[in-house]
Symmetry: C2
Subunit: 450 residues, 2 copies
């Protein structure tokens, strides 16, 4: 089989002291690092040393669960990304923000500001935010319907792009002699009137270095895939097997093409939780140690919420109940529910085993092995139409990221699969994606001539 | 007269390349610096070299006026403050944010995050945001009524304080051995149901280093003063004469006392635009050069908006019309309108002269003189019950801030009026204000005993 051309893309998904929910209990972990900017700055420096494309921060505007379970709370991602921009030069900075609980003017402005401050390295992971608990922090009693959230998201993105395009790239003149700072003819107020939003005026930030931040999407429900095909430039996804990942990849590229977009304009990155060891046995020993540190009662409660059932219906040493609410009945994170059920049924896992698998990567693929084996796993999916790259989710941080950068990245570089130096300066440069043209520019030129 | 005890407080109000609207036209100015993080980082370092208490960024979520007039747009303040936190250690970081166009959960979280990232140096300048143009960026057709905006602001602050207090300072345990990260009994969800907001859950950020960010207020209308007396810990105000400043100071301290608060718990800082020269003549020459660079047509239009009249009713070489809409009829920035009219009437200024005065400091007191004279002016107000300190608004940046720090601050230090080293680490330390107790703590202790 011939070598696939180009380079793969690697994103470092940063989460507290690691993606494994029990990582904070390891002797090496600082249980308070998840709100310590210095910890994240160290992670950012490590990832940039590995020439990774980007960093990513998940988010939801809610305090999850019982704080007994694990390190709780998180610094707001656009603030944290800005702090990471200050200690890095090339790596992209992707933050999650909700279209359900923000206003487009505020959020578009904040991402534009991060893009300016970072010299063109901002990315926005667009989420609609599942869960009634989040809704109740924002004047609502119940979660808006799934379909409604996605329709609002689409309009939110349209408005945001209008706002980012509301300044021509050459609107600022700085003509001191004439006393004319900018050309008002090159300002394009959105005057948007839609179902969810009315936004009249131009953004009060010049067009960002990247035109607009990289648009990222991570939901894999039907609505989520439609949104991704229409707008996303990178997609994070949870896929357990090569066949599933190939099906997802083929489907999303086809949807993108069907909408008249270049399928190469959307980068698909499945998650991988690399549990690394010098030998396979060492890797599995680390995985086992982490799973042993999980407190199952908390995890059982969370699993029940995901499945839309009572915790009393789950028994640690039995499989999932035969009857479960269907995806259609779930108004929360639909694709997550489906993935969890499929994993449990396919491998006939007990609730305890399932909790171990989910505690390691929350439904993402956990792969324990040597650096060579992890590199093989990465190459296999990349080479076989399942991925344009990977969302790397180290189980323990910073050590798991350092191990990936020091042990796996050099192998991928030797195989010619991954860059040895950054080629450009922006996040779009890292992903090999173009800077978008200004949607208003042609009209504006015509107008300014008349 | 005896020396007033204590130290005065100095805030550096940062605005692009200076507070004078024509500063960008000077040969020394970079007309694009107002969106350049490096420019602001230089300013922050200069201010910290001068041991100033804090930095301050104004803001409004709207693109003002015609971009021809002067450098337009601004980086979002909480993002910019975070970038400034990274290059400083002691100086406080105060950002303006609107209670009319934000949600409490989002904003309280962002300020808590800045407070964590900066090690306890965040302050929030609470504004209700005047102007229909801003309203039209947020789904509204018209500006909400002044009284309504202030009622919403009060509830917004109450909710925010509940959110910052929603974690006990000792809620996080980090008990690895027991597998218990935090104590859920020490989490206090606000369960707030009010006229403007329903916010159920606890914040997803631990209680900030300062308890909560310093609360700052700057409106001087009746509603504004009431809000300040109830909640503010520092107040920025525009006062032109010693007598007016004394009256404002006495009134606000009395209102604060009347509400059962310690009047020393609110620091009052009038604005001063120091135009510095080696001699008085040099200072006035700089002031004149700046005023000559103003393009009056833009400024006339802005003045008309402030006064609630048509630009056609203003003539550059005549005084203001005898009949003007009263403050009660203005739904925008009431106190600004009143200040502008009082200044024009008192000094019988033509519109052109008024524009010059406003262009220099937008209604704040401009003082042109030698460093010794500026230090005298500062000492005079501080000593005579008109100010606890000053909001320093250099006409040109960075040069005007550097001049203030290098020439005026040493005089104030020699006179024993200003610190020579920072005494603490937080913004509250700088202002000599206490860290607030958690409003829920007593109940919580009682509950956890039962």
């Amino acid at each position: 089989m011939s070598r696939r051309p180009g380079t793969l893309h690697l994103n470092a998904f940063l989460m507290g002291v690691g993606h494994h929910e029990a990582a904070w209990r390891l002797p090496e972990s600082d249980p308070f690092a998840h709100t310590d900017v210095g910890h994240f700055q160290e992670l950012a420096r490590i990832a940039e040393r590995g020439k990774l494309d980007s960093l990513f921060l998940a988010d939801s505007p809610v305090l999850w669960n019982n704080v007994g379970r694990r390190p709780s709370g998180a610094l707001e991602p656009t603030v944290l990304l800005t702090a990471l921009a200050g200690v890095t030069e090339h790596i992209g900075l992707i933050a999650t923000a909700s279209t359900t609980y923000n206003e487009p003017f505020n959020l578009a402005r904040r991402f534009a500001s991060v893009d300016h401050v970072s010299g063109g390295r901002a990315g926005w992971n667009i989420v609609t935010t599942a869960g009634a608990d989040a809704a109740r922090n924002f004047n609502l009693d119940e979660l808006p319907a799934h379909r409604d959230r996605y329709q609002r998201a689409a309009e939110f993105i349209e408005v945001s792009r209008k706002l980012w395009d509301s300044w021509a790239d050459d609107a600022a003149l700085g003509d001191k002699a004439a006393g004319v700072w900018g050309d008002q003819e090159r300002i394009y107020p959105p005057r948007h009137v839609g179902r969810y939003f009315k936004v009249a005026g131009a953004l009060n930030v010049p067009r960002p270095p990247q035109g607009y931040p990289l648009l990222v999407q991570a939901g894999s429900s039907e609505d989520g895939k439609e949104l991704a095909a229409r707008y996303a430039e990178a997609v994070f996804t949870a896929q357990q097997t090569l066949a599933e990942a190939q099906a997802f990849y083929t489907d999303l590229k086809a949807r993108t093409r069907a909408l008249g977009r270049d399928p190469d304009g959307i980068r698909i990155l499945p998650g991988i939780v690399p549990v690394l060891g010098g030998t396979e046995a060492e890797a599995h020993a680390l995985a086992d140690e982490l799973d042993r540190l999980i407190v199952p009662e908390y995890a059982k409660r969370q699993l029940a919420i995901t499945l839309g059932i009572s915790p009393d219906d789950l028994h640690l040493d039995r499989e999932l109940p035969a009857e479960l609410p269907a995806e259609e009945q779930i108004e929360g994170a639909k694709s997550r529910r489906t993935l969890v059920v499929a994993l449990a049924r396919r491998e006939r896992l007990t609730v305890r085993q399932l909790i171990g698998r989910l505690g390691g990567g929350r439904g993402h693929r956990t792969f324990a092995g040597t650096p060579e084996q992890v590199a093989d796993a990465v190459e296999d999916w990349w080479q076989n139409g399942a991925a344009d790259g990977f969302n790397v989710m180290p189980p323990v941080l910073p050590s798991g990221l350092a191990a990936f950068v020091e042990q796996v990245v050099p192998i991928l570089q030797r195989r010619g699969l991954f860059r040895t130096e950054y080629a450009g300066r922006t996040l779009r440069d890292n992903y090999g994606l173009p800077r978008p043209a200004n949607q208003f520019r042609a009209d504006a030129l015509a107008t300014s001539v008349s």
